[in-house]
Symmetry: C2
Subunit: 187 residues, 2 copies
């Protein structure tokens, strides 16, 4: 990403999301997106392989999760590590993108092919977290458990945050999502 | 399923799993499967649409989960309902199929196309549980949380059970998997 001006990428995303919201995902073409963004077709394809890719700029999240787990000091309890990682992602990746993510969410929910891809992203995050904890020496079943909890934690927090009319910060929704899991699992 | 003799279906599954284990999934053909099972090609296609379907005889699990949630009395806490549902599935569906499931698991893990389908099954169970709790009047975020917990619970319990050299009953692995989630989420 560092090779291209981030504002161009951002402009393309915003233009695409506007058009998807106006006309639907299927009916929107790449020429229409580049026209609205005021860039060339070639520029579009430097940033995205197709219009579906516009939604999945956060494909690097599994890699970020893997790096955080690899770099964290030994002996930190898994939940503490996951919480710290999610707070960092919330501040650096999600919070600045709330408007675009809200628009993207609506398009994804209306489009089965995109929902499929969204599931694949969740599975990639699950795999990265699981592998990261295995590499830290956790029991494989504990690693899989923590990975499942992480995905549910992120998904439910993001959903609440994107739907929140009061626009409370994502970190508050992360706290609430963790509490919901604890309540659901209480004996 | 009631229309066809269950032992034919079972024989086809066993033959297919033997062949997949011997030759690999890709290299095994439907004619080889029917020859080993001693049935006609036509019989195969009455039970399965293709060789991949052989793995996914439990496709009815999301529908079973939906029915259990719809029929359960009001006011039962979500975790109690999920636990009861999983115990029923363990006794009626999984425990009698342990040998086949162990064989199937090894083939699925070696075959990306089957892992993809396995993820789809998990997503279907997630959707069924979520919708079932929403229909029972739960808060949608609680429903999604419980669905996420259910999938992690089933997956980690099945994995431990299928790998267990002592062959302890699945119900014991369900208890252990629940405890792992509670420990992972402990403050």
């Amino acid at each position: 990403m560092a090779r291209w001006a981030p504002d161009t990428r951002q402009r393309l995303r915003s233009a695409a999301l506007e058009l998807f919201a106006e006309r639907g995902f299927q009916a929107t073409t790449v020429p229409e997106i580049v026209e609205r963004a005021g860039v060339t077709r070639r520029t579009f394809f430097r940033h995205f392989s197709d219009k579906r890719e516009v939604f999945f700029g956060d494909d690097e999240i599994p890699a970020l999760a893997a790096r955080m787990l690899a770099e964290a000091p030994a002996g930190v309890p898994p939940l503490t590590l996951v919480a710290a990682g999610l707070r960092t992602l919330a501040a650096e990746r999600f919070e600045p993108q709330r408007t675009e993510m809200r628009a993207a969410r609506r398009v994804i929910e209306a489009e089965p092919a995109l929902r499929e891809r969204d599931l694949r992203k969740q599975a990639d995050l699950h795999a990265a977290v699981e592998a990261g904890f295995v590499a830290r020496g956790e029991d494989p079943l504990v690693a899989e458990t923590v990975a499942g909890i992480t995905v549910t934690w992120v998904q439910t927090a993001l959903r609440a945050w994107l739907a929140d009319p009061a626009a409370a910060p994502l970190t508050e929704h992360l706290d609430a999502a963790l509490e919901r899991m604890r309540v659901a699992l209480a004996p």
